[in-house]
Subunit: 150 residues, 2 copies
DNA sequence: TTTCGTGCAAAACCTTTGCAAAGTG
DNA sequence: CACTTTGCAAAGGTTTTGCACGAAA
């Protein structure tokens, strides 16, 4: 992703926030900064620490990050990912750029998989009578670096 | 699934257990009973309660269910599913019957989706250097019953 | 000014761990 | 008999909640 893309993503996210019923606060802007400039997905804790790193003084509490991300999900600003390790992660929901993840079972490194062939299946689920359909597809494996360590 | 299938599944699961390094105990047999006869996936807590319901006296502790299911996953007896609601679920891993789930966002009802077209993508992940590749694909939506309630 | 957001502390929730006793092969 | 498994209690980790104060529109 280029620097230009980052800028666009960031602008789009702020606009989504303004259009929603949520208020634009420093905490929310800081969270969007992190999500737009570094590629996640990140846990609430990870977002919280990244916010602290950038600035001199604390912008917000960890609890605020939890609450903001949960609200962001409701308005479709972020997507929630669950990699089955006990905590959930969030990334900006960029509508026209659907992708999935490959997670190393050893080191938990996350790689992108820029392919989505699930549209037909989503249609099938809608035909079964479901509304507001979404999906999650994650691949798990041992990355080559970890595999060579053994 | 017919009664005959249940029986087969149950027998296969017990055989897998015997072939493994794990010992065959009452708790483990009771857990396999639940997984083979009712269609999950179930959380450890759900398995625990189903075990209690069937019998007069307690067969095992909730902690034992957690430990058994974790061990079952290691020997490939069960598959772990994470639906992003804070707890993980398990179902018997029937090798030649790969399927996915549709989860209602309102009532959490789980329906089966008996299609898997992910094999090509798994190959792609292996070509990227990953070993021991698995995947998870879940669909989420509001089921028609919940949709009509609104 | 009214409504919404935040910090702090505490609770809730799911899961894991330690250790002694009981059970399996 | 050696080793694994279990129960109980307690701890660990993540996420949620209550409430008073502060900030946005």
């Amino acid at each position: 992703m280029s620097a230009c893309d980052h800028h666009l993503t960031h602008k789009n996210a702020l606009e989504k926030l303004k259009k929603s019923s949520l208020k634009t606060t420093d905490a929310r802007k800081a969270i969007i900064d992190v999500l737009a400039h570094e590629h996640g997905p990140f846990t609430s804790e990870e977002v919280y620490h990244r916010i602290k790193q950038g600035r001199k003084k604390e912008i917000c509490d960890l609890v605020t990050v939890y609450r903001c991300l949960a609200n962001f999900e409701k308005i479709g600003l972020v997507r929630r990912c669950d990699f089955g390790d006990g905590s959930c992660r969030y990334e900006l929901d960029v509508e026209d750029h659907h992708h999935h993840h490959i997670i190393c079972k050893e080191c938990r490194k996350v790689e992108l998989l820029d392919i989505c062939l699930i549209d037909g299946l989503e249609r099938l689920v809608r035909e079964k009578g479901y509304h507001n359909v979404t999906h999650a597809l994650e691949f798990f494996g041992v990355c080559s670096a970890c595999h060579e360590k053994v």
